[in-house]
Symmetry: C2
Amino acid sequence: MEIRQLKTFRAVAEKLNFTRAAEDLHLAQSSVSAQIKLLEEDLGIRLFDRIGRRILLTEAGEKLLGYARRMEQMTDEIRGELSGSGDFSGTLTIRMPETIASEYMPEVVELFHDEYPKVRLEFINCDDARLREELNTGRIDMAFLMTDSVNFKNVTVEALKPERLVLTSAPSHPLAAKENILSADLQGQTVLHLRVD
Amino acid sequence: MEIRQLKTFRAVAEKLNFTRAAEDLHLAQSSVSAQIKLLEEDLGIRLFDRIGRRILLTEAGEKLLGYARRMEQMTDEIRGELSGSGDFSGTLTIRMPETIASEYMPEVVELFHDEYPKVRLEFINCDDARLREELNTGRIDMAFLMTDSVNFKNVTVEALKPERLVLTSAPSHPLAAKENILSADLQGQTVLHLRVD
DNA sequence: CGAAAACAATCGTTGGACGCGATTCAAATA
DNA sequence: TATTTGAATCGCGTCCAACGATTGTTTTCG
């Protein structure tokens, strides 16, 4: 029996739905199934009745739910009481291109806020090339860029992931018919692309 | 924060000694160190003051100890309340050679008893060859053997580990001088060996 | 005072646990 | 009957946790 399992159990027991619980917990549905299965095996008793695709708490499940809630309260209490200083708060100012922001940030913000609810996130659009200065003066705390390499002094840089660069056009465009496009083919074409500072 | 970590923490906090705690928990000392380190990182606060090789609870540690105890009580309560049927009791009768018993059983019995305190273990010396009958009639529940292979019907057999067979003699024995001994060398010698039923 | 013992921290390795995506199978719904 | 919803299962990859060995330090004892 582990706290992680009890948290998962509580989520499932309250939603009575493995898939929703998985979303809440930022887990795959299969992982939730596996955890519940482990917990049931560990306790040696079924926690849910599976009636068709619908699930109900068994009597044992009902009892456990109460304990799980108290247990979780207690962990929160522990953190509240002990970690004091470890409980970050303040504002993080982040500069990043809108394209990245709209793609990745919704999920990242949710995850981050779950862990550090007292930290406010401030995003600024990445519309100029004065990053180095901004980072050094403390106007922004961090930035996400799409670029081949960055080499700033006094700034920590980490590559997060490669991102494919894709060529897109209207279906009616002459180049759309070609199987392969060489960079030479773009000669004289008007290209709309990301600003790379 | 996981229950396992809190259990480890409690053991250390009560013994004020990592090594003893590790023994109690059937863990390596390094594992205990690692768990405590993780817990301290997770909570963002030191739990022990390390004064030389001696350790003391910090203020945070004192507080946590209370919580850890309540937490553990609660898990026991959960098991007591829920697992009902999963709580095995009764007697297991096991036949095995004394050589095996004295070598492996002390630790095995301790581990087993920690997990199933209500099960009594009964050992019988392995001094006859009527194992098959004994197993089938239910006089014994299981047996440990040292042998090359066993093939009983209605009996589940599992190989646990290979065991080296070593030749030993008094230092004064003629064969003791030889670098290598062949089985032919044993011709005519009196050999004291395990009974293999 | 020097030698030995006690003990926690650290390191490298490895097996197992855990998470994931894809798939399957059953049930509910259209 | 077809489609959707939802949980279980499987195979795979990765990461974590336990271990043994070692180190460095402190305490104890000869």
